[in-house]
């Protein structure tokens, strides 16, 4: 009896899940730096109206193609210079952050939720619905992401909402397959059987019992999906199929800048650097998240 009490005393208090998560996440220095860069991009996006020094669509006709402030002929009012119509590039980039992040966030959400539901259905009903769902996903997977997006935009027409839909449909199969695989691994475990025996219905089993235990890989995939959605939005914008001008979207800005590659290299450089830094920070963050959320994967990578 006494020994038991002693043992109970010795047991260390476990850190809260959040603290534990932060400990393993902050172990990865690159991920922490990336997190701060990403947070500042979000900050810029959310408060674009206050931060941006100029209106993103205002055309300063007297100052067309002004170089960045540090270059010869630059002006301090236009920190990163102006584009071919005299619009302030920095302000457009800041407002562009709002659009890119919004599209990426919505498209992740629009593919994540149906993807999880379809994946759970496929795992719980492998005979009927499962086969059909997985076959359809195979077909969707056979079309390269950007081609599928182009194909959908051909039908729907270009624009902000259609870009989201196109990207969301393209990434749907990966969430479905991932959720299905994770759920299949959980479904035969004892706690699920116990819950089933206790009389839990199919919906309760799917969403409350199994799903929370499948979240780690899904969250990691959603992070990576977020960065590839930003890239894809920009790619569609670049091809002229995404968000239409004059809306300041990073890819659309690049598309217009192509003709000034010799005369005004900054018009090309700035939006690209912004895309690269944002996407890179999300990917580095995703690496840290994976290490923190999924210790099994950590050893593999």
């Amino acid at each position: 009896m006494t020994t038991q009490v002693q043992i109970a005393d010795v047991v260390p208090s476990y850190p809260s899940p959040l603290k534990e998560f932060w400990q393993s996440f902050s172990h990865n220095k690159g991920a922490v730096v990336a997190l701060f860069i990403f947070l500042s991009v979000i900050f810029c996006g959310v408060f674009a109206g206050w931060i941006a020094p100029h209106d993103p669509v205002e055309q300063y006709r007297d100052h067309m193609l002004t170089p960045p402030s540090w270059a010869e002929g630059g002006m301090s009012t236009y920190l990163l210079g102006t584009d071919e119509l005299g619009r302030d590039i920095l302000s457009r980039l800041i407002h562009g952050a709002r659009i890119s992040l919004f599209i990426a966030f919505m498209s992740v959400l629009m593919s994540l939720i149906p993807g999880m539901v379809l994946g759970l259905l496929a795992a719980f009903f492998p005979k009927g619905a499962g086969t059909v769902i997985m076959r359809v996903m195979d077909v969707m997977l056979a079309l390269p992401g950007i081609l599928l997006a182009i194909c959908i935009i051909t039908i729907l027409g270009p624009g902000l909402i259609n870009t989201m839909i196109a990207i969301a449909i393209g990434t749907l199969p990966s969430y479905t397959r991932l959720t299905r695989a994770a759920a299949m691994a959980e479904i035969n475990k004892e706690y699920v059987t116990a819950s089933r025996v206790a009389g839990a219905g199919a919906l309760r089993l799917m969403f409350l019992t199994v799903l929370p235990n499948c979240m780690a890989p899904i969250i990691v995939n959603a992070t990576l999906g977020f960065s590839s959605a930003i890239l894809e939005t920009a790619a569609l914008g670049f091809l002229g199929l995404g968000v239409q001008p004059p809306t300041p979207e990073w890819g659309t800005m690049l598309s217009a800048a192509r003709d000034y590659i010799e005369r005004a290299p900054w018009v090309v450089t700035m939006p690209g650097v912004t895309i690269l830094v944002t996407v890179l920070s999300i990917n580095l963050m995703g690496d840290g998240l994976r290490d923190a959320l999924d210790p099994k994967l950590k050893r593999a990578a």
Partner: protein, 336 residues
């Protein structure tokens, strides 16, 4: 082995049927019908409209149209372009080699650089080289390749003047098309400077298209190498006193390559997608640029064919990878 291949083939058939359905449905989901698209803004007499619909067989019930579409497809008929009035198959065959040439070069570039880099990084874990490779491949993986293409043009073509800006070969060369691969054709033509011109035109697009596959292959090779080096058989091989190079090359690399092969197969999809962007930047006359141009011209039969063909390539390549996987790893072959 034969039954393994048959089994793999059987799994592909439903996917392929699905693809034909998607390609078929696409052209019918677009607002307006092909006739309206063809005449454009002009007013169209309803009688003529009906006659044209009948001529194209668009007045038939959908399932009959679908079966006719599949029948034409089986005979290699992809329809007729609305813009040039040429058979899509013919246009496709003249443009396809350009894309294949570019894709093969990009994949070779990615494998030849990515594989050794990932391998050495895995062997020298934690070294400066390892961190360098991982940093570069993470950046490559995050690269908006359309911007990367513009930056390379800006630096190497505009500033340094080393490489041409766009196209496949300088216009002064008139190379007879034999294989469609300009590197080979220009070599065979024997014209002075033609091969060099073709090769110079290829360099930048190859780098741009190869960047993402390169990053993915390097990362995958490294992690797969790390995984394999921990295996018991590696320890046994070392304990037997085998030379370190033999352990790495014969025992480790062979096993580490198995997941890398799958990843290379999956990269074919990203090559096809990337080709759309790369070809647009470099005005490379391949199917990627053709597709994008056709979308802006609303040339739907071409878009339909492009989607069908790219999906088919993706399916076939991955089928091939699956089979190769079975050849490399007998355990997979016998698994049900």
């Amino acid at each position: 082995m034969f039954s393994f291949i048959l089994r793999k083939l059987a799994t592909v058939i439903p996917t392929f049927i699905g693809i034909t359905l998607v390609a078929f449905a696409l052209i019918r989901m677009i607002p307006g019908d092909p006739i309206e698209v063809m005449v454009g803004e002009r007013k169209l007499d309803p009688v003529m409209h009906a006659a044209a619909m009948q001529r194209l067989g668009l007045d038939q019930p959908l399932h009959i149209q679908y079966f006719r579409y599949v029948k034409d497809l089986a005979q290699g008929d992809l329809g007729i372009s609305l813009v040039t009035r040429e058979p899509v198959t013919k246009e496709f065959l003249t443009l396809f080699p350009a894309t294949v040439e570019l894709a093969i070069c990009a994949l070779l570039f990615a494998v030849l650089v990515g594989l050794p880099a990932g391998m050495i990084a895995g062997l020298k874990r934690g070294s400066v080289f390892d961190h360098g490779v991982m940093g570069v491949s993470m950046t490559g993986f995050s690269m908006p390749i359309f911007w990367w293409g513009l930056i390379l043009i800006m630096y190497f073509s505009v500033t340094l003047g080393w490489t041409p800006v766009s196209g496949r070969i300088d216009i002064e060369f008139d190379i007879a098309q034999r294989t469609g691969f300009l590197l080979i054709d220009s070599w065979l033509s024997g014209e002075e400077g033609a091969f060099k011109s073709a090769a110079m035109h290829l360099i930048l697009p190859t780098i741009v298209l190869g960047t993402i596959p390169l990053a993915v292959i390097a990362r995958m090779t490294r992690s797969s190498m790390l995984e394999v080096l921990r295996e018991d058989y590696i320890r046994t091989a070392r304990a037997k006193g085998l030379a370190p190079t033999r352990v790495v090359v014969v025992h480790a690399l062979r096993n580490a390559l198995i997941p890398v092969i799958t990843v290379i197969g999956l990269q074919v999809g990203s090559l096809l997608g990337g080709a759309v962007l790369t070809e647009t930047i470099y005005s490379w006359p391949g199917i990627g640029k053709w597709l994008v141009d056709s979308i802006s011209r609303r040339d739907y039969p071409v878009v339909q064919a492009g989607i069908l063909v790219s999906a088919t390539i993706f399916i076939v390549v991955n089928l091939f990878v699956d089979i190769l996987y079975g050849v490399v790893n007998p355990r997979i072959r016998s698994a049900k």
